[in-house]
Every structure is written in C-alpha cells, then in structure tokens.
C-alpha cells in the first residue's frame, strides 16, 4: 500500500482540538496553565510550527543519534582522554554536567506542560517531541559522566548538584523554576524555548561541541552535538507562539516574558560559559573571547529575531552588552576565591600568556581584575595560602542568587542595588536584576538567598565548615585550584609585566 507523503496528512493529523462536552473548555484548559492571555483558541490554531516531523521519523532519527553518541563513547572508553586532558577541560565537564544534567529533567516537565496545556495543536505536537528530547538529554548527561565517578567523586555531582544546597545549584534551580517549572505553557514557550534555548543554549552547545573537538574530547563533542540537534528543533516552539500573541494585541505581555527570560538566562550563561571560555579553556584552544562570542552569535541573533517578530530590544540591552566586559571576569574571581564551595576544581587561567590574552581581548583588564590577581599571586608565592581563601560569605543577589560583583582595581565600580519591599530589604546585582523582581514581587519575595539563610540561623555552625556541610559538599568533593597552583610559579622572581601595546 502506498504511503502518503507527510505534507499530505500532517495538517489534518495534528489538528487535535475538539469541543469538550463533559467539562467546560476553561476546565480542560485553565488559563493559569495555558497562559493563553485571553487569546481565543481559534486564534491559536494558526500557530504553524516551522519544523515538522512525524513520530516514526522522530524515532528513526533519534535512534540514529543515540547510536552515534553511544558508539563514540564505547569506542573511546579505553582512550586516555580523561587522564591526559588539561585539568581545566575536566573542570568544564564537571561544571557542565552538574549544572545541566538534572536541569534537562526539569525542561522535560516544562515540555510536558506545553504538550498538555499548549493552546495550539502544533505547539502540543512539537512539545511532545521536545519532552522526549529532554528525557534523552538528561539520561545521556547522567550516563556519560558516570564512568568517571569511580576515578573522581566530583563527577557524582552530575546527579547530586540539584539535590544539594550548593550555591550554584540554588542559583540554577531558582532560575529554572522561574523560567520553566513554575510557568504556563505559553510562558514556557517564550522563556524556555525562545529566550533560553534559541538565544543561549543552542548557541552554547554549538560552541561547546567545537571546543570539545578542539580539546580532543570526541566523546563529549559527539554527545553535545547530538543534544544540540534536538535543541535547534524544539527551540522553535516559542517563535510562532510570540507571533500569535503579537498578532492578537499581546505584544506588551510577550515583550515582558522575553525581557525577563533573557535577563535571567544571561546571568547563568555569564557564570558558566563566560568563565569556561575565557579562563578554563586552555589558551591554545580558545577561538574567541566570550565577549566576541556574545556579540557575534547571541546579540546579533536576538536583534534580528526580535525585530523580525515585531518586538523591541529589551530596555536593558546596552547595559547587558556593557556587562560583557566585566561580569564573567567578576564571577571567575568569585568561583576561584570561594573554590571550596564548588563541585569542580576551577582553573585560574592566570598564566602570563593568559593575562596578555585577556588584556588584548578586554583592554584594561590588568588594571582592574589583574590588580586582584596580583595580590592572590603574591600570597601564593609567599606561602600565605590561607589568605587566598574566604572567611565570610559574599553578598548574594536576591534574583540571580549569584554574588553581587563587578569591576575591582583601578576601575572599581561595585554597587548594591537594594529594594525595600513589604518590610524586607532585597539586594540585587544590577538594575536589571532589580527590575525583574519588580515585575512580579509576589513571585520572588519569599525566597531566601544563601546569605538570608545564614542570617536566619539555618547554617550551623556559622562558619565555612558549616556552610560546606549545608551545601552537601563532602571531603573529596570540595573544589581546589585545577592546576594545583603550578601556574603561580611563572611569577616567582618575575612579576607580571604588561605587554607593550
């Protein structure tokens, strides 16, 4: 029997809307779950997903992808990649797995919400595949690091991180709860797939796969490529949802979702990708600075897409671009100095050649961030190791849950952005973070940052040891310098001299 081509039956088959008779439409699709924003169902039916696939096609392609990724892993299992890789690269793997693997399960729940409550049949269809994608991503990114657990306990954090109160895990949970666990189907389409995935993760995974290949880690490269091809498909759920909202007079609501989504995603991206690209990636493998990457891939792409859709650039666009020059440098300083509070060993990325590179990519770096590293290097060389470690907590932003930090040294420009709300003072890293809070204070007001918890007596004993216990960091897991401080020796009797321009 001859089979019809997909395009001959797809539109009919995906039209799964019907008129309920046992319950009302509002009971079947409550607004709080759909997020339809008053746009009637027939208006949502024009939603046209740009990427169409059928279930048999999906299964066949996914099976091939899985076979590819698992066979590369099996073929290279006896390679000495793990033993021979630069410790900075191994740190990127640990940070990545811990921050991402269980987040994929959260994304699966979010896709499931779109699959059930999406107002457009096309959205439900794509999200069904998206849900299966995210399940695959979680399982892959738990299975692949598992082989390393017996050699290095920090890899156990691929699964453990989200179940802990480690500060980065709190930040990731807070962001993902906000963008897609505690949102309606429409909001998820915009905030998870459009803002987070199209804007950031899709691009990041492309870059990360290339970096892995460059570092000789072909197992990770094939894993990440395998995931990225799924992302580039299901990330397209948000675009047509925005089109429907805008065509039906909901531009203002759409704009706010986009603006909040990008703001929140940018912070995590800056922390994870920014520090990985400009510090943990061995110098010889760096293709672009994080700033160059952001300007070329992220800013350009968002500007084109937002304008094509008829949306505006977020009000904070120029401020965010200005942050490309400093925010991830400050986060790097934070993760390195508070390294016992990590599940990975941060690479300082601080050889003289690294500093020359940073100065070239970020003119003035040595006069600002370099000044702080100078003090750290002096302490390391003089054997004052204790002064390279913290004895208090950084102030944590009540939105990003990351340290409030900016430019040190001669360009010193660090500031608190406080807000009094219902008798409590909240502290923010920037005008952007504070603005996000102000958009929906009831949503955020009850969360306690790590510092709030400390002050409330939840961390006992109230010192670094108590904090490490609270974060579930066991001996053998807590972070230390990735290269065992060997890089500092380059400065012994040879203080850093900035290269002449």
């Amino acid at each position: 029997m001859a089979l019809l081509e997909r395009n001959e039956w797809y539109d009919i088959a995906r039209n799964t809307n019907w008129t309920p008779t046992h319950v009302t439409e509002a009971e079947l699709f409550p607004d709080v779950m759909t997020g339809a924003k008053g746009v009637p169902v027939e208006k949502w039916e024009v939603y046209d997903e740009p990427y169409k696939t059928s279930y048999p096609e999906y299964v066949r392609i996914q099976r091939e992808k899985d076979a590819g990724a698992y066979s590369v892993k099996a073929a290279l299992e006896r390679s000495r990649m793990f033993e021979d890789a630069d410790p900075g690269w191994v740190s990127i793997l640990k940070a990545h797995y811990g921050a991402i693997a269980l987040g994929e399960y959260a994304a699966m729940s979010a896709e499931a919400r779109m699959a059930r409550f999406g107002r457009a049949p096309g959205m439900r269809n794509m999200a069904t595949f998206g849900m299966l994608d995210e399940n695959r991503h979680a399982q892959l990114q738990l299975y692949f690091p598992h082989e390393h657990c017996s050699k290095d306990r920090q890899f156990d954090w691929a699964h453990k991180a989200y179940h802990s109160n480690e500060w980065g895990a709190i930040a990731a949970r807070h962001t993902f709860d906000d963008l897609f666990m505690a949102r309606s189907a429409t909001d998820i389409a915009v905030m998870l797939t459009f803002a987070f995935e199209t804007g950031f993760t899709n691009m990041q995974f492309l870059g990360l796969a290339a970096d892995a290949a460059e570092a000789g880690d072909f197992t990770f490269a094939s894993l990440i490529s395998s995931i990225q091809t799924d992302e580039s498909r299901h990330a397209q759920i948000g675009g047509p949802a925005l089109q429907v909202m805008i065509a039906n007079g909901r531009k203002e609501e759409a704009q706010k979702l986009v603006d909040v989504g990008i703001a929140r995603a940018w912070r995590l991206f800056s922390l994870l990708t920014g520090t990985s690209m400009d510090y943990a990636t061995p110098l010889e493998h760096r293709k672009q600075s994080f700033k160059e990457f952001m300007l070329e891939w992220i800013v350009g792409q968002f500007e084109r897409t937002l304008i094509d859709l008829g949306l505006d650039l977020p009000w904070y666009w120029n401020q965010m671009i200005a942050e490309f020059d400093y925010q991830h440098h400050a986060y790097q300083m934070g993760i390195w100095f508070w390294r016992p509070t990590l599940w990975w060993n941060p690479a300082a990325g601080m050889t003289p050649d690294c500093r020359d590179w940073l100065e070239e990519k970020y003119p003035g770096w040595n006069d600002s961030f370099g000044k702080v590293w100078d003090v750290i290097i002096d302490n390391l060389l003089a054997g004052r190791h204790e002064l390279t470690l913290p004895e208090t907590l950084p102030m944590i932003c009540n939105m990003s849950q990351l340290p409030i930090c900016a430019v040190p040294g001669n360009g010193w420009n660090v500031k608190d952005y406080p807000l009094d709300y219902q008798g409590r003072t909240y502290h923010f890293n920037s005008e952007i973070d504070r603005w996000v809070f102000q958009q929906d204070p009831a949503r955020y007001r009850d969360h306690m940052s790590l510092v709030d918890r400390f002050l409330a007596g939840q961390i006992q004993p109230p010192n670094l040891m108590g904090a490490l216990q609270y974060m579930n960091l066991a001996p053998g897991e807590i972070g230390d310098d990735a290269h065992k401080y060997a890089w500092a020796e380059a400065y012994r009797n040879n203080p850093y001299q900035k290269k002449a321009a």
């Binding site: 702080v372 913290p390 950084p394 340290p403 660090v414 400390f454």
Partner: protein, 86 residues
Amino acid sequence: MAAFPMISNFQYDFLLQLVAVDTENTMDEVAAAAAYHSVGRRVAPQPGKVVRVRRQGDTEFFPRHAKLGETGIKPMETVEFIFTEA
C-alpha cells in the same frame, strides 16, 4: 552590645561581602573588620592610608570614632570602605 551584620563594599575589591560587627564598634573598628576580608586577600595594602566609612552613594564619611549604634546605619545596609589620606 549587639551583633550587627552589614554589607561591605570595599574600595578596589570586586564584590560585596557579609561582615559581622557590633553596635559598640567605632567606625575605625568596623573598617578593620571589613578590611580583614579584603585587604591582603584581594586588595593590596596601602600603608599610611586610613580606611573611612560612608553610606553607599554618600561623599561624607562618618567620624572615625563614632559608634556604629549612633550612626543610623541599619543592619544589612551596604556601606563603602574607602582609603583616604591619614
């Protein structure tokens, strides 16, 4: 006497930090408590200079011997610590 948490924004450092002081502490003592977590760790010492205390955004410093409890600084307020000539 009462334990008093405040937020230190120390000149030339890269972040805000939690610092525990006491309402009976003078501004010089508060500055020393904040300096403990910044100077010599990430901020180079500046011999001969004095660290003065002011509210975020102010240009005027509190008197060096003023007690914290008398300044009107609230718990968990962000305070700036600035190197000045002695």
